[in-house]
Symmetry: C2
Subunit: 624 residues, 2 copies
């Protein structure tokens, strides 16, 4: 039996997991040195050991394995846990940096390196322009992992975070497309102008095609989970099968598979999570995170191993200039691109943000895998591999370790977002509603208008098709649901923690806990009340408004002005304090009122007493 392959895979995974555990046992290391650095270091050690005993490098790691099995979980993870709202609010900037930035870097670095190649002293005249561009495309992909961890820890402002996040996600796609284009071009003897135009056209087909496939599979996945209420045990499987299928199908059609899986995850997420059971949802989230995390761990680990076990071709000139140009063009690119994009942004990037963006450009797994995938007929493949590994190690170690102190030192704008509170959510929604109305009035339709349109389309059509229990649900109710679930899980953890602690601890500690638990249960109670009040009232506003518009909008499409004024009035009317307060008080008086409150504990007491009697009755007292 071919037992070796699964055996080897399991052992490598176990080794990588052990390393991960090890770092976190000594927690202080991971604060200052990113996990990726540590993993690469461990990989280097393991590689050195393997090299010294003349072991062959792990058969597991081929670029094939990387692209088919290790990349999809990582991208799925990023796509599934992408903060949707800030992402869509910054989508223009994200795409700008991802697409134009990557092109900028590829072409800039490629051209400069080609110029360097003309210098005879470096002895690399045989590298053609196409090959230089190909190499530049490889090292243009920016890796998010290490930087994002640091950004999260020091909580930089949301704009910066989401732009780096999005850039990393999409420039992988751009890089892979560029790579495919340039490998194709590199094998051509001459390049004609028409090829360039074809390339640009193909670029868009590949990107948009991937997006389309992803969205399609996302909808199919959501639709499938409508019918899984009887087969809960395999629910999570569908998420993985569909997103993987999206990836593979995109790969088959030679369109961007990364785009496909990201869009699939983004599309299906909300519908699926409402369709599946709570347990399935937890499992899906945990599993997505788990697979992504272990793939990432393995990649950095293998990077270390392969660095040692691969044969290198070292060329001081070429590699040093690669490092220099990568750094230079990245910085220049950010500088130029932010100047162009800033006028279009509400919150523009300042100098410190630009530094964060430029300095956060670490290279990682994608570059590494692409370098190994280089076709054999490229003369200086070994040099390219060496240079790629050099730039990865350089950026991951030097920039990765120094970025935290630097960001803290120059004091980059910190986050302006706290925990999602109810007030924030309500304000946002009201403002958006109002903005959509104002925009409608002005005739200038920006993203508020489109969001409003999409939400209505979503509620009227998509949700009905894709969600089993297809009642429309406002995002506030969804937020409440989320908060409540979170709270319940926390309470659960506290309770179970207390139970296991209970037998051996003495009363003092316990009383403290007791009171904290009481407080928590009070909190839950309050939250529930607040939830009820808010969901009902907000709902009324929403439903009344929607009903109003739709009733009039359909027959009299020619009178938008009047409708808008009416709509505005209806929003105002429903937000008037009197109507709100009276309803809320009506709802509030029921669950927490005095009359019920005084009935409550006595009934509880009698019930508990009865149960206690039962217990005492059934204990084997006959023994004495």
């Amino acid at each position: 039996m071919e037992i070796q392959i699964p055996f080897e895979i399991t052992l490598w995974m176990l080794l990588a997991s052990f390393a991960k555990i090890g770092f976190h046992v000594y927690h202080k290391i991971t604060i200052w040195v990113p996990e990726s650095c540590l993993l690469i270091s461990i990989g280097l050690i393991v590689g050195a050991i393997m090299h010294s005993v003349h072991e062959t490098p792990p058969a597991v790691l081929t670029s094939n394995v990387f692209f088919l099995y290790m990349l999809p979980p990582i991208v799925l993870d990023s796509g599934y846990f992408m903060p949707t709202r800030p992402f869509f609010e910054n989508i223009g900037t994200v795409l700008w940096f991802a697409v134009v930035g990557t092109l900028w870097n590829s072409i800039g670095i490629g051209m400069s390196l080609y110029a360097i190649c003309q210098i005879e002293a470096f002895n690399v005249q045989d590298i053609s322009l196409q090959e230089n561009l190909l190499f530049a495309a490889i090292i243009s992909a920016v890796d998010p992992v290490a930087v994002l961890n640091v950004f999260e820890d020091v909580s930089v402002n949301e704009q910066l975070y989401i732009v780096v996040f999005g850039e990393c996600l999409f420039n992988d796609a751009v890089t892979v497309v560029l790579y495919n284009m340039f490998t194709f071009v590199a094998e051509m003897p001459t390049v004609q102008p028409v090829d360039v135009f074809l390339g640009v056209g193909r670029f868009f087909v590949v990107g948009l095609g991937g997006m389309g496939f992803g969205i399609l599979f996302g909808f199919v996945a959501a639709f499938t989970t409508r019918f899984t209420s009887k087969v809960r045990e395999i629910e999570p499987l569908f998420i993985f099968m569909y997103s993987y299928l999206a990836y593979l199908v995109a790969e088959l059609f030679a369109i961007s598979s990364i785009m496909a899986i990201v869009c699939c995850a983004l599309t299906m997420k909300y519908y699926v999570e409402e369709n599946v059971s709570q347990r399935s949802c937890t499992t899906i989230r945990h599993l997505v995170k788990m697979l992504g995390s272990i793939s990432e761990t393995l990649i950095f680990f293998f990077l270390g191993v392969v660095t040692i076990t691969t044969e290198h071709e070292w060329n001081w000139g070429y590699i040093l200039f690669t490092l220099l140009f990568a750094f230079l063009w990245r910085g220049l690119g950010i500088l130029v691109l932010t100047q162009i994009i800033n006028p279009f942004r509400t919150i523009s990037f300042n100098m410190k943000d630009q530094f964060g963006l430029a300095y956060g450009g670490l290279r990682g797994a994608i570059s590494f895998a692409l370098a190994f995938t280089l076709p054999e007929n490229i003369g200086r493949k070994q040099l390219f591999v060496t240079a790629t590994i050099a730039i990865i190690l350089f950026t991951v170690f030097l920039q990765g370790i120094s970025i935290r102190p630097l960001i803290e030192f120059i004091n980059v704008r910190r986050t302006n977002r706290n925990l999602d509170t109810i007030n924030v959510e309500i304000h946002c929604r009201v403002m958006e509603h109002t903005m959509a109305g104002i925009e409608d009035l002005c005739g200038q339709w920006s993203h508020f208008y489109w969001k409003d349109k999409f939400m209505r389309f979503n509620n009227r059509i998509l949700r009905r098709i894709l969600i089993r229990d297809a009642r429309a649900e406002s995002s506030i109710v969804a937020l409440y649901k989320k908060l409540e679930l979170q709270n319940a899980i926390e309470v659960l953890d506290t309770v179970s923690g207390e139970i296991s602690a209970a037998p051996s601890v003495i009363s003092l500690q316990e009383e403290q806990k007791e009171s904290s638990k009481q407080k928590m249960s009070l909190m839950t109670e309050d939250l529930k009340n607040m939830h009820k009040i808010l969901s009902k009232n907000m709902y009324k506003i929403r439903q009344r408004t929607v009903a109003f518009t739709s009733k009039h909008a359909l027959p009299n499409d020619s009178q938008p002005r009047e409708i808008l004024i009416r709509r505005h009035a209806s929003i105002r009317r429903s937000l008037r304090p009197g109507s709100f307060q009276s309803t809320s008080q009506k709802y509030f008086s029921l669950p927490a009122g005095q009359s019920l409150g005084s009935k409550y504990p006595s009934s509880r007491l009698s019930h508990a007493g009865k149960l206690l009697k039962q217990i005492l009755h059934t204990l084997p007292l006959g023994i004495t």
Copy 2:
């Protein structure tokens, strides 16, 4: 890129999952026809379609794939969710049926078929005794899936259920061992008596070796999860890596890999579930179930496909006699073996139970895979494959469909076990404690004594090594924890269900739900109180007893009688009603008493009121 393999696998899985969803959409089918039958039928249809378009059978299904990737999840599922207590209470019977029963069937069927082979009319004289025995071993493995589902639905008595469950689990191991032995023997020209003895010896080495490896890996897994509190996201991975590693290593050493993975799952389960977080625990359970379920689904599905796409050799005589002998020897075996085991059992098997055992002997996946693994140098391999498929289809369809009405008709003893209540648990524990004491006094040490010994060893040493938070925890506390978590999850589900229902439903329904929820929260409160009382008191008993024994046992090991009398006295003393009642009342009066109870709602009211005011304050009232 080798995209075909993952693509094909994903598509087959998706197809099988769709079939599973389909059955459950029309729920009525699955009550009368087992899922396995339906899956085979779908497989037959797909196979027929593939055959008609001259498609080759799925490349995915080789016996290699089966044993390396599809069997482990199924066995892990069975092992992980095995009902531990009834299993260990019936372990003698289980092993008796699994080991002796399988040997009985293999040898009986093999010999009889050899006799049939001597009849010239059937034209199968070329099949040797060794080959007949090998074939008999293949079709001796009993498959649990279909039968267990029926048993669960009609809730037959626990003894019957657990014996069938355990038999299925272990006779897989026995069958694989026999298979390996007989394939080895089948290639020998002659068999000498010494080979038989060697075979028997090997049989035990393989079985016990697998067990040993499994337990070892289980402990290592449990120990590893002590340190994963900082890397929660990869916790579930360890469970799968270790159990899979146990399986693979056992396979490498040619010992029973099924035993290894089952024992690994059994060993690590309790320790791991206490170490990992609640979310990880949910994920692990869901994932184990999911993987097991999809593997099972795929196997039955493929069985149908392969039935059509394989070339068959049909021999009426041989196949009909195989069916007859399989049925006959199974029935005879159960009859004889129960007669032998009954005197040793507290609750003996009656005629109806015997019928259930005999009729529940469906053949399934293991037989199927083993038949395909047959070495090519066996002359009549095709006949064996055909006969195996025939017996699988015959038993799965005929017996599988008819077992439910038959069991209900002859009215097999139903379950005598309700939901684990607290009372039952307390009674059991007290009885066990007492029994252990009595046995100690009598000097006759049965499983109560050994259980007590193991529990003490577990609490004193194993738990300290393997569990992060190593305070000893009685099984009652564990039960409470479980009940409470279950309850909390149920409450969660109700709450979230209610939230999504709230906006659109009218008050009447809601009030009903409200009251039911209140009842449920009361239940939780009671449960918590009861838990507190019980855990504290039971704990005292336990700890006092243990402390007492250990203090005296170490220096004066020569006076066991006195200690035992004292221990008995101490148990009696602590169980005296007076002492229990007083403490319990002391503890009870605090959380649910009148004084606190009257304080409770008012504070909650004021707190909630304050929060409401806050909300009203922050609403955008300024708009009007």
